[in-house]
Amino acid sequence: MQPKMAIGNLFLGSKIASKIAPNGKKSYFLQAGPICLFLLAIASILSFTANLWVAQDPGYQDLISRLKPPFSKVGDLNYYFGTDQLGRDVFSRLIHGGKISFAVGLITATLAMIIGGALGLIAAYFRGWQEAIILRVVDIQTAFPFLIVAIAIVSIVGSGLTTIITTLVIWLWTPFARLAHAKALIVKESEFYKAAISSGRSGFGLVFQHIVPNVVGSMMVVWTFIVAQTIIAESSMSYLGLGVPLSTPTWGSMLSEGRNYLENAWWIALFPAFAIMLTVFCVNVFGDWLSDRIDPQTKKI
């Protein structure tokens, strides 16, 4: 949105105004988007390759050196971010913990996009009862605190990576479905789509050639925001002890353990807290940047 342009519209009539191009920068995070993407790429690569370069085993307990503050040195071991209540290396756990956040974020958002997108397109293509059912489910689910349901499901079924991803996908397909449906309906009103129909096209070919390309851009923007949401959701569940088993370090579970030691060992909680915050912040800034370029409307979902 370019405000000056907008007010120009007001008084000049659209014809003149459309020729008065915006004056000044478009977004306040103009260059930050690509930078954030770059940082995220680095961070995820560092996490996924943690086994190769982080010397300390994240699960290794050394009760003698528990609750050591950052930059402690015990023997020839360096604890840059200190140690936790079991004497494990916070730095190592932080890097390894990123794996879960990034993997769950990327996989969940992608699966949700595929499933939600498909259902949204089905709803828009067939209209009729398919649409009625899908939109109804979307409505009900969006209005409901699904995190609560996720908590209940995981507590019953038992925690694990698959359960978490499945649950989150069941939760997060709805924004994609809503978006794909809305965008597809707009395409269906367009002249080129009507022309394609009148030339006898139908079915998958029609949908993939004419609707999908017009939906994909906005879907990517929403995908980014959903990655951020998923990372938040996963860490929330880990915090509650409903994430992957505790033997695998995650930012959420580190935070939850650190909660009890805030009085005397702030570093256990503070580093994963910053990790979650910065990761989600970067994803959001990138998403914001992307949506300015592709589809500013998606910000309002």
Partner: protein, 307 residues
């Protein structure tokens, strides 16, 4: 009016039955609840008697029917951990949850409205951009992470505020700030976006041509107009908001439904869990109903359609 009430009621029934059924079968599929209740060193007779008392020895269909029957009478059985009926336990914790949610929501609106308008009006200046950057950061911190930061600063370092429970009057401050921060940030951004869009509208131009002050145009006319789309977003957000409340309660040991449910999860206390989910479902649907009614109050076009 009646149609709105009816459609919300239908939604409530669908949600409750749907989720209830889901939980019911998940519990039955994932293992024998009797084993979980009895614990690892229970005898076979122990387990058998628990099974019988829970009706687990009957066929699954019978069990399901009696479950539905209990659902209608709000009877979720006794909590395994507290050995008291589950629903009254939840209801006793409800006021605390409502108190926390209400304060947090109010806080979000009271801050976000002026901040959003400020960011829109000062969109080209440094301060306006700063508001947007801060809100972008605020939107990126999950409530429980904010909770940790707050505890560190205000309880551990400054020693101003208690870090858990709801003993003192000041106890509400940190949980409500933690819960409202995401919403505050999100609404600041949305209000800015809607506000900028609204600046293009003819009625704003009319207001200017009538010599009204900007303050009057912004706060009386634009605010009223953007409250319509804002309301629909609030409706959508309610679910996430309540989800956030559960976690914030866990972080601050706030004695509400959330804390109760987290404990229920850890103890595999299914009756308590089901009662909690049920209570939250009803709460969210009722809040949505309030949003619907506010719609009618604010937008005469919608009112006209309904009547």
């Amino acid at each position: 009016m009646i149609r709105i009430l009816g459609s919300r009621l239908l939604q409530l029934i669908l949600v409750v039955i749907g989720i209830g059924t889901l939980l019911f079968f998940l519990v039955r599929v994932s293992g024998d609840p009797a084993l979980a209740i009895a614990g690892s060193d229970a005898t076979a007779e122990n387990i058998a008697s628990i099974r019988q008392s829970l009706g687990l020895d009957r066929s699954i269909l019978e069990q399901y029917l009696s479950f539905l029957q209990n659902l209608c009478t709000l009877n979720f059985g006794e909590s395994y951990t507290y050995l008291l009926p589950a629903m009254p336990l939840i209801l006793a914790a409800l006021p605390n949850t409502l108190y926390l949610s209400f304060v947090a929501f109010l806080l979000a609106i009271v801050i976000a409205v002026p901040a959003g308008i400020y960011a829109a009006v000062k969109r080209n200046s440094f301060s306006g951009k700063a508001v947007m950057s801060i809100s972008m950061l605020g939107q990126s911190i999950p409530p429980f992470v904010i909770g940790i930061f707050l505890i560190l600063v205000f309880s551990v370092w400054l020693r101003w505020l208690p870090s858990f429970g709801n003993e003192a009057g000041l106890s509400i401050i940190m949980p409500s700030v933690a819960l409202s921060a995401v919403l505050m940030a999100r609404y600041t951004r949305l209000i800015r976006a809607y506000f900028l869009e609204e600046l293009n509208r003819g009625y704003v131009r009319t207001g200017k041509s009538l010599g009204f002050t900007n303050a009057r145009i912004w706060f009386k006319h634009i605010l009223r107009n953007i409250s319509v789309p804002m309301l629909s977003l609030i409706g959508i957000d309610l679910g996430k908001f309540v989800g956030g409340a559960v976690i914030v309660e866990a972080v601050f040991a706030w004695p509400g439904i959330g804390s109760l449910m987290i404990n229920a999860v850890k103890a595999r206390d299914y009756p308590l869990l089901e009662a909690g989910v049920f209570a939250i479902a009803v709460m969210v649907v009722l809040l949505n109903l309030i949003v619907d009614l506010l719609y009618l109050y604010i937008d005469p076009r919608i009112r006209a359609k309904v009547n």
